[in-house]
């Protein structure tokens, strides 16, 4: 750390991570465990049993008021007003040029004792940028329009978030919550009570979502009960072969699953069509920043598009490596790693559309030496799907 007075944020699980061998690194302004024992072991555990990952670094914004859904629909690239309570939707936030400012998950919840609210889960690194963007688009006149009032709170520091992912997740979580998780389809969620004493009669929000390519849930808790619930979950996960997993495994898991990561595949210089996220952009009936630009971009040919790359050798092509067709630069790498499940070296990146067809042989300049690569279909990894947990 070069800045003397700067300390990254600590999640309520920080002490636990340090006490249990977590290799702490700075990530998105937070001190997070890269790994505890081994990224590969933690990755494989998530694919074969269950992995628990502290993802409190994610930004949490809570929107409330009769105008909240309409406001979000005119800020995000997808309609939010029609999102039924208990449902979640993936969306983008774009700037006026159509570049991607953030990708977010929006949930709509209604606990029946208060008015409904929306949770926007944004990237950790984008928290202040998003807050500024929201403030700039929510002047007082709009926020206080009669019958359309909307207010929001940045509750990032009050809410902890734990990802519980892998084929044994349901077995682990059933006794912890008061809702029927088996009947909860993918991209839905609920407000819950924690049944374990560590929950101290508090509740939380659970959703069948994730960033690993496995079945699983993400659990939002108050920071006060998070350490106790985390330890109780880990204790219960032990007989199932479960482990705590760091953000290193989270990254390799999402990469195998072909999921983009902000700051890598997604930036303000990339538009949703290049990123293959056009499905998340409603071009009509909404009026959000970037909509007009996106309509124009949709009519234009793409100059580059996101692809999966599989390397022949073992050297890893990491972010920033140039993709070549012979000697001609045709793209760049945005993420790369050894893929523990596939036991191959993989990467994601952007190439000119004429080189994006699966099977295309390309080269990647890895630290001055060319490595052979082939364009492959995304995702790299597809789990064997069961009936529940995969309904869109």
């Amino acid at each position: 750390m070069t800045t003397a007075h700067y300390t990254p944020n600590r999640t309520p699980l920080y002490d636990w991570h340090v006490a249990h061998g977590g290799r702490m690194v700075e990530f998105a302004g937070w001190a997070m465990p890269m790994l505890y024992t081994s990224i590969i072991e933690e990755h494989v555990t998530t694919r074969t049993a269950v992995g628990l990952c502290d993802i409190t670094h994610m930004s949490h914004l809570r929107f409330e008021g009769p105008g909240a859904g309409e406001f979000l629909g005119n800020l995000l690239t997808r309609k939010i007003g029609d999102l039924a309570p208990g449902h979640l939707r993936y969306s983008l936030v774009t700037n006026y040029q159509g570049g991607i400012l953030d990708d977010v998950l929006v949930g709509h919840f209604h606990d029946s004792k208060a008015q409904p609210f929306y949770v926007v889960v944004a990237n950790g690194a984008n928290r202040l940028k998003m807050v500024d963007w929201i403030n700039a688009h929510l002047p007082k006149e709009l926020a206080q329009r009669p019958s359309h009032e909307v207010a929001y709170w940045d509750v990032t520091r009050l809410w902890a978030m734990i990802a519980i992912q892998g084929p044994r997740t349901l077995e682990l979580l059933r006794p912890f919550v008061d809702v029927d998780l088996d009947e909860m389809p993918y991209y839905t969620g609920a407000e819950i009570s924690i049944l374990h004493p560590a929950g101290q009669r508090q509740g939380g929000i659970i959703s069948r979502t994730g960033y690993t390519g496995e079945d699983g849930f993400e659990l939002i808790l108050g920071v006060g009960i998070a350490p106790g619930v985390w330890e109780a979950l880990l204790e219960a996960a032990k007989p199932l072969g479960g482990l705590p997993t760091g953000i290193g495994a989270r990254d390799t898991l999402r990469l195998e699953a072909g999921m983009p990561l902000y700051g890598h595949e997604l930036t303000e210089q990339i538009n949703p069509f290049q990123a293959r996220l056009g499905f998340a952009c409603e071009l009509y009936n909404l009026d959000y920043p970037g909509r007009d630009a996106l309509r124009k971009l949709k009519e234009q040919p793409l100059d580059s598009i996101r692809v999966g790359l599989e390397l022949v050798g073992r050297r890893v092509a990491r972010q920033g490596c140039t993709v070549l067709a012979g000697v001609e630069p045709v793209g760049w790498v945005t993420s790369g790693s050894y893929a523990p499940t596939l036991e191959k070296t993989i990467a994601m990146g952007y190439v000119r559309p004429e080189f994006a067809r699966p099977g295309t042989e390309l080269q990647i300049d890895v630290r001055g030496r060319k490595e052979e690569a082939q364009v492959v279909k995304l995702p790299f990894y597809h789990r064997n799907k069961t009936k529940k947990g995969n309904q869109k």
Partner: protein, 134 residues
């Protein structure tokens, strides 16, 4: 040999020096247990060709983990006489036996004076503690 009998670079290579029957000094070079533990999740090691000339402080290869890639630096001036070529298909021996089966290369030393620049065990331990505190 034990870690206490070895010499070290600041970049975490260990060196064991022996005299061959012809009287030449041969340095066996490896990577310390500290470095291997810090890397974790090794996926690849790239070693040079036998016969290549190397200079102290110059990269001779690279080692890659899931998270990052690092250069391997020659501790001495000389010519590479042997390479542990089986290592790339058996990375477990690097983490399992870093001071034995996990050796990387052997170098015929051309300038013995350079050996005095290397750290002894105590000095290397001290450096590792500093690295851990960072």
């Amino acid at each position: 040999m034990t870690p206490k009998e070895l010499l070290y670079t600041k970049t975490h290579e260990w060196v064991h020096v022996e005299t061959d029957p012809a009287g030449a000094k041969i340095a066996t070079v490896g990577l310390t247990a500290f470095a291997i533990e810090a890397l974790t999740d090794l996926v690849y090691v790239d070693l040079p060709e036998v016969g290549r000339q190397v200079a102290a402080g110059e990269p001779f290869g690279e080692i890659e983990s899931v998270k990052a890639v690092s250069d391997l630096y020659s501790p001495v001036d000389g010519q590479i006489t042997e390479v542990n070529s089986g290592l790339s298909n058996n990375l477990a021996s690097l983490s399992g036996d870093p001071y034995g089966a996990g050796w990387l290369i052997k170098i015929k030393i051309s300038d013995e004076g350079g050996l005095s620049e290397l750290l002894d065990y105590a000095a290397y331990q001290e450096q590792c503690e500093e690295d851990n505190d960072e």
